[in-house]
Each structure stands twice: as structure tokens, then as C-alpha cells.
Amino acid sequence: MLRRLVERFLVSLGVIFGAVTLIFLVLNWLPGDAATLIAGEDASPETVHHLRVKLGTDRPLSDQYRTYLTGVLHGDLGTSYVTREPVVRRLAAQLPSTLMLTFSACSVAIALGVVLGVVSVSYRGRWLDHAIQAISLFVHSMPSFWLGMLMILVFSVRLGWLPVIGNGGLLPLVLPVATLGIWLSVPLQRLVRDGMLEGLHEPYVTTLRAKGLGERRIFYVHVLRNAVTSTITLLGVLVGESLSNAVIIETLFARQGIGRTTVEAIGQKDVPVVQGAILIASVAYVLVNLLVDLSYTLIDPRTRLQTLKGTR
């Protein structure tokens, strides 16, 4: 068990290291020169060169990479090209807002996904189930920002219940959280639904029936519990999706946050900020997946057995 723990941890570290490298390569090695873009089209070559020296992009790539990696290990993600502010400080200021959004949205998604999944299964084959499945398909095929726009149209413009933008208080949080939560709940709903439908055929259900347990109890206690436990596997995906969609949702609702900072930085070709933001998202994603994996080993004895077999 300890061995597996250490092994998984090392693999995750490796993946994070790889991701740092990959992001660095994508943003610095691919054609496209930040200095040229920042200086503008009609800047003289001297200006561009001067800027390049100032930004440090004139040095060889391996040199830049070494500096960057050393920085990352010391918790320094570089300096913004535009504001000359440390990237860490800039992003840290935005982190609470984004965490608030993604955490609430994930909670809404889980609650909604489980409830809709259960309702769908208990009404399976009937119109309510069909309606939930049809709406799921529709929501799943929407761009998240269009769902957000529709919510604004209905709840802010038509009904005037909720403010569209703003950062203070809980009220401006409702629409972004609802948008992201509804959008993310679809895969969970399907997982719960499929899990329960399949669970109803498991041998343990037969055993429970033979024991004389009521159908209701089998359904709502045993089968439901197994299906809900399986949603933990989706948690990693959920966090990844909510972090990437935070970029879009924050832009749409003009909310403070890492996502919006990233979009601004993209407009200004501020590579270190974009790099830092993507790095934070990736690290969060990898860590959540690690936690999911480990917790699953604790929750589900079957995986423990399989791992034992797998790693001799």
C-alpha cells in the first residue's frame, strides 16, 4: 500500500514536470515572437531587439528553460511582460475568485448530476427520463458561454432577478455558478444513471432480494451508494473541465479571476502570465486525479486487489 502510494506520487510529480516542460515549449519554442507582437508592426528592428533583451527572450531556449525551471522550483513563475509584476503575485490575487467559482460550480454539478441521475433511473423509459436525457444531450452540445448568455437573457434581462456582472457578494455569483454547474452536471448524471441501471443486474442485488430486502431499500441504499461512489472517478475530469471553462465563464460574466487574467494576458501577448495560469490549472488537475486515485483505492477494495495482481 505504501509502495503504491509513493509510486503514484512520483508518477504525478513526473507528469507535472512534463507538463511544465510542454507548456514552456509550446509558449516559447513555437514560431511567434512575443517581442515583435508587443512592439507592434511598425517598430524598428532595434526596438524589437531591445525589447527582446529586456524580456530575456534573446537568450538561447535551453538557457531560458533552465532559468524558468529553477524559478518554478523556488515558487517563482517569472515576471509579467506587461506590468513587470511577479506572475505569482498577480495570479495569487485572482485565485480566490476562481476557486470560489469552480468549487461552487463543481458542488452544484455533483448535486444536480446525482439527483437527475437518480430521478432518471427511477422513471426510466418514461417521459421524465426522456426529458432529462434530451435536455442533457442539448446542454452537452452547447458551448458553455451560450448557455450562460441564455441564462443572462432569461434571468437578468427578462425577469430582472439577478445581476449580470459584479464581484461583491453572493448574488453575482449565482448565474456563473449555475451556468457552469448545469453544464458540468451532464456527464455525472449519465454516469449515475448508467451505473445504477447496470447495478440493478449485479449479483449482489439478487442476494439482497433473496435476503428479503425491499426493492426500495435495495434501490435507494445499495445501488445508489455504489453509483454515487463511482462519480468520484469523474472528479478529476470535473475539476479540469471547470478550470478550463472558468476562462470562458469569467470572460462572459466579466468576473475577476485567473481565467479572465489569462484572456487579458493573451491579448497583450504576456507569455509568462499565460504560462503560469495554465501551469496552476494543470497542477490542480494532476493533484485532484492523484487524490481520486488514492481515495478510490481506499473506497473500493476491488481496485486494491487488481493493483496487487498488476504489480506482482
Binding site: 503514484r8 508518477v11 507535472i16 512534463g18 507538463a19 516542460t21 510542454l22 509550446v26 509558449l27 513555437l30 514560431p31 426510466r124 423509459g125 418514461r126 426522456h130 436525457q133 434530451a134 444531450l137 452540445s141 452547447m142 458551448p143 458553455s144 458561454f145 451560450w146 448568455m149 441564455l150 437573457l153 434581462v157 456527464p187 448508467d194 451505473g195 447496470e198 440493478l200 443486474h201 426493492e215 463511482s230 468520484i232 475530469v237 479540469g240 473541465e241 478550470l243 478550463s244 476562462v247 470562458i248 470572460t251 484572456v263 493573451i266 491579448g267 499565460v274 504560462q275 495554465i278 490549472a281 494543470s282 488537475y285 494532476v286 486525479n289 486515485d293 481496485t303 487488481q306 493493483t307
Partner: protein, 330 residues
Amino acid sequence: MKSAAEQLVAAPARALPEIVFDAAPPESSDQRPQTELPQGQLTTRSRRKEEPAESWLAQLSLSDVLVPASLLLLSFVAVCAAFPAAVAPYLPTDMHTDAILSSPARAHLFGTDQFGRDVFSLVVYGARQSVLIGVFAVLISCSIGVSLGLVAGYAGGWLDTALMRLIDIWLAIPNILLAIALSTVLGPSLVNTIFAISITTLPRYARILRGQALSVRSRPFIEASRAAGASHFAILRKHVLPHCSVQIMVLATLGVGTSILIGSGLSFLGLGVNDERPDWGYLLTQGRGYLTVAWWAVTFPGLAITSLVVSINLLGDALRRRFDPRTAPR
């Protein structure tokens, strides 16, 4: 070593862990309980009132309607993409200055935007971008991803380990963010958008196909052709690839929808192309500023994206049901 979560969700197609590919339409898994459930076993509320035979018939007719409907919509979008001038009443550059932000009416079916451009025409002309993005991004990502996955799964050993570690790293960067990074560096253009989306969606194909190849590898017929002297490349091409063709077809179809959605997201963030033929994502960005006065400027372009992706997802799932031995009609 495979992660625990993967082991549980990766194998059966029923619960794909990726949000993007998992698009089961309403009727997909409904058939399962009805065909597999021994009748009268369950006495929960829903079961008791159900007429299995009738609802199975209802199922059938529902999917019989939905698949042709999506095909119809897809062909309409294809026509719009190929010959927009034949469908659109106006040019996307026509500015009707006398009808700025006018609501949907007979002259302007979907209303007009802040420049007095006809929204219906804009939507029709915007189709080409989405179709090109969807088709080409999938062609690139699917062919490379499938090759990588098949080689990794078939070869096994260090090549497999190395490739899969690379895929793990690739997948660690959340979805849209990698596409954003790529588009940022490369600058906005259609080719760059397609490239960015391909790179972003590629590892998923590789991972799923690797699993498929792994399961085919140990089959006796592979060993037989090996014994008969077939080269590894020939085996991959003639035996392993055809064996996975259904899976590839389904993944590619659903991938078109995913690519279109990512493309619209990039466009919304200002990373797409915005010339005189704005694509659907950019129309939404523009309409966003006029949400309070012109609901039609965002409703119709969004509806265009969504209905296109819904059709693609329905089609992909119909393919899965048709060819998947576990759910195919008996």
C-alpha cells in the same frame, strides 16, 4: 501500472470518462434495461406502470425520427458551408443601415445585428468555418492519435510506456487551455485554429485506441498471421486497424462535435478568425454586447452551433448502437 479510476471506467463504453466524448442520446441506454431485464423482477414505482413492449416501440420510432432528422440538418449545414450564397438572402457584408438591431421579421428572419447585417445570412456564411474546423481537426487528430495509440498498444514494452507517459503529460493540461496556449502563440487564423484543436484532442484518440490494440494483440489470429510471416506493419494495417474501425468511426464522429465546440470557445475568446465572414463563436462575442436589446443576435448563432453538435452527437451514438455488439438490435 494503470490508475484505479481508469481501470474502473476505461474498459466498457458505457461510461466514458471524458466529458467531451460521452454523448449518449436519450434513447441510447434505455434499450438496455428493457432488453436485458427479466420482466417483472423489479417492483419499483416506474417498473410497475411500464408497458415494456409499447415503450420499446416508442423507442424505436424516436430514434427512427431523430437519426434522419440529424442527417437532414447535417446536409443543410453542408450546403450552407459549400454554397452560402445560394441559401443566404443577403451578403454577410450588407449593412442595412435603416434596420439596425431590428427584431426577427419577414425581411430579416433572424433579425439584424448592430451594423444592420442580416443575422440569418451571417449564420449561413459562418457555417463554413465550423464545418472546416470540425472536419479537418478530426482528420488530423484522429489519424495521428489512432496511429500513436495502435502502435503503442500493439508494440507494448518501452515504446508503449514512453508514448503513454507522453500522453499522460499531454492530458494533464486541461482541454481548452492547451488550445488557448497554442492559438496565442500561433496567432489567429483558420489553419492555426485547426492545428491547435487537433493537438488538444489528439491524446484522447491515442489513449482509447491503445486500449483497443492491447486487447486485440493477444488474439490468436494475430499470432497466426505473425507465424505466417506477416510484418508488424501489415498486421497493424490489415488486422488491428480494421478491428478498431467501429470505435474509430464513433470517436471521430463525436470528435467533430467536440472540435466545433472548442473552436467556438476559442473564437469567443478572440482567438479565432474574424474577417468579414465571422464564424458562429465570434457572432456570439459580438452579440454579447447587445444582450439587453437584441436577444436574437446571440440566440440564433448559438442555436446553430448547438443543433449542429446535437445532430453530430445523435449520429455518433446511433453508429455506436448500430455496431456495438452489446447494444446492437437483435
